[in-house]
Symmetry: C2
Subunit: 299 residues, 2 copies
């Protein structure tokens, strides 16, 4: 069980929870996982950002006037200072326009094509090799123990769904992320047609929005929540707030040799406290990538 | 197979579709069902309306001033003319306020308690006896053939979820309906708390909204859609618009002896055409409750 997890207090806590959950009905065995930085590498840039940057480059090659827009110029130039100054949200909303008018099937095909071609910009491995092997083992062990596994991501729902079955064995309907609004149209023959807009439906799926979307889109309360960043705080608290055995797991990226070392601090956390400190205060189990994982990526 | 379905063209069409779907990958075998009037009886009133009316009566018994509000008075008096005049949507929004501030767990418990106690206002049977036996058999047959079954209802998502597992074997996350907004709060000890508001999130889940919510909340395209009313039109069209074997099934309530006889016509259908006529024009398979079903309700 969990062969890539080193023996120690963290692995013991995970196994103690899994054993305690056996007393619960299968319907109560619900686990939610963040995606970026929890199931796969999110540095130096989000994979979804890489996808959108790639699509923008294709567009700019055909139409140089794309460069005239400040948000697009910043991305094409890799100008992180400009992106920060414009604000990541404004840049993200501009990038969302690249796929407005596209059908769900076309969008899926675009994501899959990118995945089969692209490599991590630093590690130079295919993107499918950026998933964390210990997390894949945990997903398998949860399913073996009749858990239902959901992905609750801040990323775009359809982006994650396009690869969730292949990478994690998680079906589209078990993925909740930031939602794009769709428009229902009709083609020339009157047949229905569904296309993406450039609008986000509701809030970006971070912080308290993750808890609300777990309720509205999944309707079951998790007893295990796994995350890595300040945007996962409320979801991890939510898992611990029930009256059954529960576990909040936070991955600490403290391994600059095999992956990256960084702290997640954001305005959603009180007094800009590092999320690892918040977690220790709230009784979460902190996974040290350096110490608790024998292997990080699949072979 | 399908023992409560009489032999004939309708049953043949269903079985021909099920056989044709065997050639598809299981991930493509996706079926969506409307709930009210498709999986269970919706006359003379929606079951959810009965639930809300019941809750309002409890409230009015404790606080007679409830009667001062026009929407509530109309419901308490069973004054259908007044309800029509006020508009069903306005009455529904007023009833939604009854559960504002309530947690998901409390709401679930309220629905289940009502189900265990209430009886159909005409037939006087427990509500669980109002599901259609032939549809239960179709759900079972679909699952046997590795279909994923979703419920796509115009009713409240949480209301349907509270009973979907017990009545239909459908888990909460496989139910999509009209969504209520939630608020993320904290209790006295700072622990997270999720409560219902009196606001609907997005549109009521009818018509084109059903197609949009299938995409945003489930992310898979159905090849079988089953409905009974004008609010199911776009969903049934959507199932037929793909390029795989597909089937659109419409239940015609033409059986006043065993259930009800009524036509569904609404402003969402062009020129106020009956939905059965629309279906015949669009190549749907129409189920005659009177002729195609040997049994309507379970024993």
């Amino acid at each position: 069980m969990l062969p890539s997890w080193r023996r120690g207090a963290t692995r013991d806590a995970v196994i103690a929870f899994l054993d305690a959950a056996e007393q619960l009905a299968p319907a109560q065995r619900v686990a939610v996982f963040d995606n970026d930085g929890t199931l796969w590498c999110e540095k130096p840039t989000y994979v979804q950002y890489d996808f959108l940057e790639d699509a923008l480059k294709v567009k700019a090659a055909a139409d140089p006037s794309v460069h005239d827009r400040a948000e697009y110029a910043a991305v094409l130039d890799g100008d992180w200072a400009a992106i920060q100054q414009l604000g990541l949200e404004r840049v993200a909303m501009a990038l969302l326009e690249l796929f407005a008018g596209v059908t769900p099937e076309q969008f899926d095909a675009n994501v899959v094509e990118f995945f089969n071609r692209a490599r991590h910009r630093v590690l130079q491995v295919p993107l499918a090799h950026l998933v964390y092997q210990p997390m894949l083992e945990l997903l398998d062990e949860l399913r073996r123990r009749r858990f239902t596994v959901f992905i609750v991501s801040g990323g775009g729902t359809e982006f994650v769904r396009a690869i969730s079955e292949a990478l994690y064995g998680v079906q589209p309907e078990a993925v909740v992320g930031t939602l794009v609004e769709y428009e229902f149209l009709r083609d020339d023959r009157g047949a229905p047609l569904l296309v993406r807009t450039a609008r986000v439906l509701g809030d970006a799926n971070e912080g308290a929005a993750k808890v609300r979307s777990i309720q509205t889109q999944l309707g079951r309360r998790p007893i295990l929540a796994v995350g890595n960043s300040a945007g996962d705080k409320e979801m991890l608290e939510w898992a611990l707030a029930g009256d059954t055995p529960s576990l909040a797991l936070l991955l600490d990226h403290d391994d600059e040799a095999r992956e990256y070392r960084y702290a997640s601090v954001s305005a959603t956390v009180e007094e800009h406290e590092a999320i690892t400190d918040v977690g220790r205060r709230l009784g979460w189990t902190i996974i040290s990538m350096e110490h608790d994982w024998e292997r990080v990526f699949p072979d």
